[in-house]
């Protein structure tokens, strides 16, 4: 019996380990920068990875209100979603539409996470994650605008388009801004992070502790890597993405920028957050319509 597939499995696992470590370090850097701006020493940059490992070995017990098996399966689904996004987007450079579908699945994960726990805080977090689906409306329009420009939604084609015509960020600055707001709304402590607002304890993660939280944190680390990579690939292109070291540098710069914004802005209330996101998506939609009308 020959195991051709063993090499691919090892490759896949190695890539997700890489994505998790990079994403975890970047999220640690995010916390550090926010802390330094606010005049605190802040935790070590390794803290995110340390937390993940620490929670992995903690005792857990399923709460009596939890709706199993969704309660523990949702943490596994969270990792599956982001690992699939990593492979389909970063490794195979497939369509942006599939990645958008996976991003929508992430909302289902957040919602299911909150509702299966049976805790009122978790439920509030789940409900707020449905509100913050307003962050995805700009994504639709951004994808439309990119399609009008490049005539393709396959990431490989978009990267090739930029090889010839230069980075898209200069041609579609508003679309890049709308996508950046999406990145921002995924970052912890950002003005749009209503899902993890401290007034509802830990939002949808409230009842997911111990190993379940560790698994969700692994998924979040991979998610951060994937989202930053997509932004770099779609808007800046081969200048950054062709060399992994340059990609890392670009991710560090983007994370620092996002941390700066997160540290300097207050958390919006849910209605204001949704209003601003809808406003941005309306402007992006206007941009799309103008482009269609102008041809």
């Amino acid at each position: 019996m020959e195991l051709y597939n063993l090499k691919y499995v090892i490759d896949a696992l190695a890539y997700s380990l890489y994505a998790f470590l990079v994403g975890g370090l970047l999220l640690g850097l995010h916390r550090k920068i926010v802390a330094r701006i606010q005049g605190r020493p802040g935790p070590p940059i390794l803290q995110y990875i340390l937390h993940t490992l620490k929670f992995y070995f903690k005792e857990i017990s399923f709460p009596i209100t939890a709706g199993n098996p969704l309660y523990f399966l949702i943490a596994l689904i969270s990792i599956t979603v982001w690992m699939s996004a990593l492979y389909l987007g970063v490794v195979f450079n497939t369509s942006l539409l599939i990645l958008m579908g996976l991003y929508v699945l992430q909302k289902i994960v957040e919602h299911g996470c909150g509702l299966s726990s049976g805790s009122p805080y978790g439920k509030l977090g789940g409900v707020r994650s449905v509100f913050s689906a307003a962050a995805e409306v700009p994504l639709f329009t951004v994808i439309g605008i990119i399609y009008l420009l490049t005539k393709s939604l396959i990431i490989e084609d978009i990267i090739r388009y930029q090889e010839i015509h230069g980075p898209i960020i200069f041609q579609l600055p508003f679309a890049a801004f709308a996508f950046f707001v999406l990145l921002l709304s995924k970052a912890p402590n950002s003005p749009f992070a209503i899902v993890k607002d401290k007034s509802i304890v830990s939002g949808y993660l409230t009842e997911h502790f111990g190993i379940l939280e560790s698994l969700i944190m692994i998924a979040d680390g991979i998610a951060w890597f994937v989202l930053l990579w997509i932004f770099l690939a779609v808007f800046i292109g081969p200048l950054v993405v062709s060399d992994p070291l340059m990609t890392l540098l670009g991710m560090v710069v983007l994370t620092s920028l996002i941390s700066l914004i997160c540290a300097l802005t207050p958390l919006l209330t849910p209605n204001h957050s949704v209003m601003i996101q809808i406003l941005i998506s309306a402007l992006a939609l206007l941009d799309l319509l103008l482009r269609i009308v102008m041809g």
Binding site: L3, Y8, E59, I60, S61, N68, M83, Y87
Partner: protein, 68 residues
């Protein structure tokens, strides 16, 4: 057996069977990658549940009393 350990055992069995499947059968690389994405969390959960310390609660669904 506590429900946590039971779920961990089930996840481990599913994960190992899934990995055996993707190691032997698929011809397409994409299927191998997506299979890895699907079954790795089961393995992670199954292994992790084996490492957690023994629970200190007396009745199912109750957290142990840790003082005021």
């Amino acid at each position: 057996m506590t429900p946590e350990r039971k779920s961990g055992m089930l996840a481990l069995i599913i994960g190992i069977l899934g990995f055996l499947y993707i190691l032997i059968f698929p011809k397409s690389v994409l299927v191998v990658y997506l299979g890895t994405a699907l079954f790795t969390p089961f393995i992670l959960y199954g292994i992790g549940i084996m490492f957690i310390p023994k629970t200190r609660r007396r009745k199912e669904g109750l957290l142990p009393f840790r003082g005021w």
